[in-house]
Symmetry: C2
Subunit: 311 residues, 2 copies
């Protein structure tokens, strides 16, 4: 089934201990769409500038991603400059040039309106809510956000949260949103804001899902679920790892006919799998060229490293 994602398609200039790249294709929607494309059909809503060439678009279309919702505007695309020095867990933002993204007004093509899964990548919650209201018939809504919106746009964000099936954020964002240091207590507070399920990304330590009693229609699970991350000898570029996790997670969910606890757990593993590929190369390079066989092989490896009886 189809996923509609709204978010940034951008250019990233990144420095990590492994090297540096200038203006490589990036953005949350790009990483998400590429990761999800190995599981299901993905449609993108974004805005780009005149520096977004047919070669850039081909990166998406080669993976079968529908780009009809990517609007072209006069000017330059969103450009992020960041560096990872010391810790690979947190980027230092050196520059954020919004460019055409500053006036982004998401428009949903008619061809997209039958999408059954909606992903609201990390953008202004006002825009997230606007897209959500135009897609009232979707089967599931999953969303992301970040510290900037939590701190300064709380009321707008609260509206988005009140209507989410799954919120995907990291440890620090849970603590900030809940105003609470303990992750379990914080997760309960976040679930009380609306999301039926909360997935907390822990970077190199994997991810934990917390479920409200509204998470699944058929089964109630009262305890969380933890998925591992793959210990990696080299993380070339962590940029987009969280969006790639979201793409693998949501892409797998959308490919299944029924949402059961077992399907949800597998989706968490596929999230980790796609995140582990994303960080192997700069930008989206690895996500463009991974194969379904490699994905299945790595899924088995995730079983091996976490299950008592192995894969």
């Amino acid at each position: 089934m189809s996923i509609l994602v709204v978010g940034s398609v951008a250019f990233d200039s990144i420095e990590t201990p492994s090297g540096a790249v200038d203006h490589c294709l990036g953005g949350a929607a790009t990483h998400f769409a590429l990761a999800a494309s190995y599981f299901t059909q993905v449609r993108v809503i974004a805005v780009v500038g005149e520096d977004f060439t047919p070669e850039h678009e081909a990166v998406l279309t080669r993976r079968g991603i529908d780009t009809r919702g990517i609007e072209r505007a006069k000017g330059l695309s969103f450009h992020w400059t960041g560096s990872y020095t010391g810790s690979l867990n947190e980027a230092q933002t050196l520059g954020t040039d919004l460019n055409v993204f500053a006036n982004f007004e998401p428009k949903i093509p008619d061809a997209y309106t039958d999408s059954e899964y909606l992903f609201l990548a990390n953008i202004d919650p006002v825009l997230q809510a606007r897209v959500r209201s135009q897609m009232s018939n979707v089967k599931m809504v999953c969303g992301d956000t970040m510290n900037y919106w939590i701190a300064d746009h709380a009321a707008n964000l609260a509206k988005v949260l009140s209507d989410l099936d799954v919120l995907l954020i990291n440890d620090g964002e849970v603590r900030m949103l809940a105003g609470e240091r303990n992750l379990v207590v914080g997760a309960e507070k976040v679930l009380s804001m609306g999301p039926k399920t909360l997935v907390v990304k822990h970077g190199e330590y994997g991810a934990t899902a917390f479920f409200s009693n509204r998470s699944f229609s058929s089964t109630k699970i009262s305890h969380p679920f933890r998925a591992p991350a793959l210990p990696l000898a080299e993380v070339v570029d962590p940029t987009g790892a969280g969006d790639s996790f979201a793409g693998g997670f949501y892409g797998y969910l959308a490919s299944q006919t029924e949402l059961t606890p077992a399907v949800f757990r597998k989706a968490m593993f596929y999230g980790g799998v796609m995140g582990s590929f994303a960080v192997e190369r700069f930008g989206t390079e690895r996500l463009q060229n991974v194969t379904r066989e490699e994905i299945d092989e790595r899924f088995k490896l995730f079983m091996e490293i976490s299950h008592l009886e192995g894969a």
Copy 2:
């Protein structure tokens, strides 16, 4: 089979966001022995002062722990004062009164010499090596250490590491010992120093085992293994969590007739289980009163939170 543990039996004065306790029974050997006592016979070598009463000893003997190796000396027992403010992941040491521990000379009672498993808790590596050399016929040696010995007693520590079956330390200690930020690269360096297997404790994120090709006689496993920690709404007192992990882990290993990869993985889970109990109350209170039924129940919960098909 019997485990011989050498380490500290001490008194702890602890402040955490949940409250404070003064001079409660603590020490690495105490936490380790109590946790391991649910799985196998444990024998302790330590030194205590005149403030260690029959009531304190009964805490150990009630759990069937052999205390004949606990030497009484004139003076006061080792006393540690610490507080956890803000983060529960790291204690701030406010005072370390070594007292009788300053002149600790481990003596192995004759009745202990047939012990098959040796645990070298975090003490001066010179003493760890001395005990090791007197127990040359043991089946397995597992050890712990800390930043103090890594930084200032490297040569003595190297001797201990060269002869360990399992080294159990935390993330920060791996990075410090290896001089390397990446955990996988760091783990490889630590394994090259001697330990056949390295278990890295991640606190609230669980633990990861890294295996050298000398880990198991029968099977080679080339990838690491990750065990979860239980997400807890309240951590009353993290003191001794790592030692309790070690006790659950090693106690289970010692209770099994054969060391296979599957047994090792289960041991990692039992480590997490005992760590999760330890932090529920101050000091060793919870470890004194847990039941084997509660342990088995929580083991099932660890399966539920980490396995695709649940327990």
